[in-house]
C-alpha cells in the first residue's frame, strides 16, 4: 500500500487550521510514528490518513487513487483495508468477545481461532464474556486494539495505543505491530509517549508541531 498526503490542510471550524501544508509519502511497509506535543495535530493527521476526515485542502492518494474524488465503489474498496483505532476505546454494549469480533462479523467473516489467539495473548480470557462496562481501562484499550488486529488491515492507524496498557501488553503490541508490518502492512502510530524500542525498529518518524510538519525521517 502506498499513501500520498498531498498538500493537506485541515480545519475543524473553518477558521483555524489544525493541519497546515502537510506532505508525506509512505511507500514501504513498516511502522511509522507520528509525534508531537498535545494539540500538535497528531490525531487529526491520523484521521485524515485513515480517511475518517476529509482534508479541507489537498488530497489523499491511496494506491495512486484520489480517495475523496473517487467513485463510491472505489471508496468502499479502498476503505475496507484501512483500520483506525481511537485513543478513547470506542466499544458497543455487549461482551468483550462480541466487541472483539465485531469488525469480522460486520465484514461477513468469522474466524474464532484468531480471536481466541488474541484474547489469550492479551490476557483477556477471564473477562471474555464480561460486559465491557465492567472492564478496567487497560482491558478496554486492549479489546479495542484486538478488534483491529484480527482484521489484518493493509493500513493500521493507532492513536495513542499505549496509554493504559501495562508493560507486558505494550511489549506484545509492539511485537504484533512489527509482525503486521513484516507481512506488508503500513502501521502508523500517533503518540506523544515514545518507546525507545519502537523508535529503533520503526521505519519512519513524522514530527508535528502546531499543525505543521516539523520533520520527516524515513529510514
Amino acid at each position: 500500500m502506498k499513501i500520498l498526503v498531498d498538500n493537506v490542510w485541515y480545519s475543524y471550524d473553518g477558521v483555524t487550521y489544525a493541519l497546515r501544508n502537510i506532505n508525506i509519502y509512505l511507500t514501504e511497509p513498516g511502522i511509522y510514528l507520528i509525534t508531537g506535543p498535545n494539540g500538535a495535530g497528531k490525531t487529526t493527521l491520523l484521521k485524515v490518513i485513515s480517511l475518517l476526515l476529509k482534508p479541507t485542502i489537498g488530497r489523499i492518494l491511496i494506491e495512486g487513487v484520489d480517495y475523496w474524488n473517487s467513485s463510491s465503489v472505489e471508496k468502499t474498496r479502498l476503505k475496507s483495508t484501512i483500520i483506525f483505532v481511537h485513543d478513547k476505546p470506542l466499544l458497543v454494549r455487549g461482551s468483550v468477545e462480541y466487541n472483539v469480533s465485531l469488525g469480522l462479523k460486520l465484514k461477513g467473516l468469522s474466524s474464532n481461532d484468531i480471536i481466541d489467539y488474541y484474547i489469550k495473548r492479551y490476557n483477556l480470557s477471564d473477562v471474555r464474556n464480561k460486559s465491557i462496562y465492567k472492564l478496567s481501562a487497560g482491558q478496554l484499550k486492549a479489546a479495542s486494539i484486538i478488534r483491529a488486529l484480527v482484521l489484518r488491515p493493509k493500513l493500521l492507524a493507532l492513536d495513542e495505543p499505549f496509554t493504559f496498557l501495562d508493560n507486558t501488553r505494550v511489549k506484545l503490541l509492539i511485537e504484533d505491530l512489527l509482525n503486521l508490518a513484516d507481512k506488508g502492512s503500513i502501521v502508523i502510530v500517533a503518540s506523544h509517549y515514545i518507546y525507545r524500542d519502537l523508535v529503533e525498529k520503526c521505519k519512519g518518524v513524522i514530527e508535528l508541531f502546531m499543525g505543521e510538519l516539523l520533520s520527516l525521517k524515513i529510514k
Binding site: L52, K79, I83, F84, H86, L90, V92, K107
Partner: protein, 224 residues
C-alpha cells in the same frame, strides 16, 4: 366484591390497555423514525428540535382532547371520517400526548449514539447505512424499552383526551380514567376507588418495569 358498574371491570381494563397500548406503540415508532431521521443533523438542530418537543410535553391533555374534538367534529376538517366518540379518536389523541415525551426521551440519545457508531463504522473500514441503523438501535435497546413504557404510562393515565374525544361511552369508549371520573361525579366512591386502585397498580407495574430497565440502562451507558 360487588361493583355497581354497567360494564364489567375487566372489559374496561382490557379496553384501556388496548387503546393506550396501540396509541403508545404508534407514538413510539413515530418517535424512533423522527429521531433517527434528525440524528444525522447538527448539534444545534438537535437542541432546537429537543426544546420544541420539550415544550410540547407541557401541553395539557385536555387541550389535545379539544384539538382532536375540533378535528373530528362532524363539521370539522376530518369530520367525514366519523371517528369522534370512537376508540380511534382516543388513540389519535393519546398518540399526540405520547409523541412529544417519546421524542424528548430519545432524540439526544440518538444523536450521541449515532455519532459514536458512525465513527466506529468508519474506523473499521466500513460505510453502510444498514449496519449503522442496526448498531444504533442495538446500542439504544435499554432506552427504547424505557421510552415505550414511559409513553404507555402517560397514555393510560391521561383523562382529557379520553373524555373529550372519546366521550366515555359505556361499553364502547369508556376507559379506566373516564370511568373513575364518571363514577365519582355520580357519588359512587367505592367503584371509583377500586378503579383507581386498578389504575395505580397498572401504572406502578409500568413504573417498576421502567425502574428495573433503567438500572440495566444506567450500567449499560455508564461508559462513554
Amino acid at each position: 366484591m360487588y361493583l355497581d358498574l354497567n360494564e364489567h371491570i375487566v372489559n374496561i381494563v382490557i379496553r384501556s390497555l388496548y387503546v393506550s397500548g396501540v396509541a403508545s406503540l404508534l407514538a413510539f415508532i413515530t418517535a424512533i423514525v423522527l429521531c433517527y431521521y434528525y440524528s444525522g443533523r447538527s448539534r444545534r438542530s438537535i437542541d432546537l428540535i429537543a426544546s420544541i418537543f420539550e415544550a410540547l410535553v407541557g401541553v395539557p391533555t385536555t387541550i389535545i382532547g379539544l384539538l382532536v374534538y375540533y378535528l373530528l367534529y362532524p363539521n370539522g376538517p376530518l369530520g367525514f371520517m366519523r371517528l369522534l366518540y370512537t376508540p380511534y379518536a382516543i388513540i389519535i389523541g393519546q398518540f399526540l400526548v405520547a409523541l412529544p415525551i417519546a421524542v424528548v426521551s430519545l432524540i439526544r440519545q440518538f444523536y450521541n449514539v449515532r455519532k459514536r457508531i458512525r465513527e466506529l463504522i468508519l474506523s473499521l473500514g466500513l460505510q453502510s447505512s444498514r449496519v449503522e441503523i442496526i448498531l444504533v438501535l442495538r446500542e439504544l435497546t435499554p432506552i427504547l424499552a424505557s421510552t415505550y413504557l414511559l409513553a404507555f404510562s402517560r397514555c393510560i393515565g391521561e383523562l382529557g383526551v379520553a373524555m373529550i374525544a372519546g366521550g366515555a361511552i359505556e361499553g364502547y369508549t369508556s376507559v379506566l380514567t373516564t370511568t373513575i371520573a364518571v363514577q365519582t361525579s355520580m357519588g359512587n366512591f367505592e367503584e371509583a376507588l377500586v378503579l383507581g386502585l386498578v389504575l395505580i397498580s397498572l401504572t406502578l407495574l409500568t413504573a417498576i418495569l421502567i425502574k428495573s430497565l433503567s438500572k440495566i440502562l444506567a450500567g449499560a451507558f455508564h461508559y462513554e
